[in-house]
């Protein structure tokens, strides 16, 4: 089984690539549009996928992927299942600050609480952040694109702030549900 690895390819100058994984393929293309439209300073490539592993045919043309974003639509159980099963196709280096989860519909009253908790547990156990996205308004999408870009720049080494792992770990802590140890 081919693992996706971040360091097997040489990075291109001033370029960052993000992989958006969403089983439903509903939100990803709108988010991708917002991401490429927003970023003017660096070259951002967006790859869209349903799940991992990625097709072998594209491996030659695929640039080095600096950040993987799993989009989980909380209204669908299958969305979570797909993200869970995709995790095992990621190389270990991604878990050092090159992975995040993005959930939609978290505030919808009809969402089972357990599903949101499962995502948070999943993210916490892999030490990666969860972004809660509003996907029904333009503003929400723009905001989400901004968040993804901020993380992307750090994980692609294009931000002068800090090293990836250190940087991301500072804010994964606040996504760690504080009630885990109580259970």
């Amino acid at each position: 089984m081919a693992l996706l690895t971040p360091y097997s390819k040489i990075p291109e100058l001033n370029t960052a690539t993000v992989l958006l994984v969403e089983n439903e393929e509903q939100f990803q293309s709108r988010l991708a549009d917002a991401i490429v439209q927003q970023e003017k300073d660096i070259n951002v490539n967006v790859r869209l996928a349903r799940k991992l592993p990625l097709p072998v045919e594209n491996s030659e043309t695929r640039p080095r992927i600096d950040l993987v974003v799993f989009i989980v639509n909380l209204l669908s159980e299958r969305s979570l299942q797909a993200a869970e099963s995709s995790l095992s196709h990621l190389g270990p280096d991604y878990f050092l600050g090159k992975l995040c989860f993005l959930v939609t519909d978290a505030r919808c009253g009809a969402v089972p609480q357990e599903r949101l908790l499962s995502v948070r547990r999943l993210a916490a156990s892999h030490h990666c952040p969860v972004i809660y996205a509003e996907h029904q308004t333009e503003d929400g999408i723009t905001m989400t694109a901004m968040r993804v870009l901020t993380i992307l720049k750090v994980s692609a080494g294009l931000s002068p702030v800090a090293t990836t792992a250190l940087y991301l770990s500072t804010f994964t802590r606040c996504t760690f549900p504080s009630d885990f140890d109580e259970d």
């Binding site: 992989l19 089983n23 439903e24 393929e25 293309s29 991708a32 549009d33 490429v36 439209q37 070259n43 951002v44 490539n45 967006v46 790859r47 869209l48 996928a49 349903r50 990625l54 097709p55 045919e57 594209n58 695929r62």
Partner: protein
Amino acid sequence: MDEQARAILQRVIRKIPNKKLQTALRAWDHLSSEQLESLDYAQPKWLFLENLISRCEENRLSLKDVTKLEMAYYIDNPSKGTWHAYQLFQAEGDAVSVNFTQFREQLKAHLKDVVRHVSVRTKKLEDGAVWIRIAWGDNFSKPNHLKPTYVVHYLQTSYVFVLNLMSKHKPFLYQALLLSTRHVSIKEAQLSSRSLTAMRDLLMRQYQQVFPTNQERTLKERNAPPSHPSIEKEHAECAERRHQMACEAFGDGVLPKLETAVYKLETKYRGNSNNTLNDKDELFRGVVMFSSSNLLESFRHCVSAGMAEGPVTPLLSSITQKGRNSFVITDKVPGAASQTPAHKA
């Protein structure tokens, strides 16, 4: 106009929504344009009816004319109930030469042979559809015009569509249809819908079908370029394959507007391998009903969006391939030739 004609007229007018009244009366073509102009279509129904009756009486219209109004309304608005499809089998040698006049005369004659009081009205439309309105009576009672049966048949095809048929009248209609279309047997086609057009299109294959050839061409044609050069779809090919499979099973373009499909499952339990129910011989019975405002389009989208796994199961593709929407699914008998679960009528 006698009491019965008035009663039927009242019934028909009640059924027609206010804004469709004018079109319906115009299509009926029994009132002069001055008379049509003089009616106030915004009036309450009871008042409108009184005015209408007086116009009808001016023209000395009878029960026969009133039934024509009902028929005209049904022809324009066929989705007023659930239609059932029937299929004719074993055409005789002269079946291809049956023309409308012959068919009409024969049908009337055969029905009157078996039911003494029956009223039959027919009309052939431009698209070739023959509409038949049958009001049934019996040896002692006059035809009941309140609950007529409607039959639609395209001559030289093997399909008949029927609305409001009581089972006690079924044998009479069967026999009359067989004799007048020159066929040997007739069976229910296990297809029913509110939409007559959808059933017709489905059975007579009047929609864009896709065949598993020239896959490359459709692939390239449909593949929309990404909205931005730096966005790339990893699974574009898989998506295209799924779309192709979906179209092969359900068709391309606009699909017949079928609303429901029902499956009666009489199969053994097929769950996780570790469940003890797997080894049992008893059936796991259930009924599955799919419904949507356009079922075939929903299925096609489910498959192409990956909510259903391709290739499409024969259970679902049978809807278009066999032109049915009611199935009983049983496990195949060991040794039977069929690869898929058997479909029983």
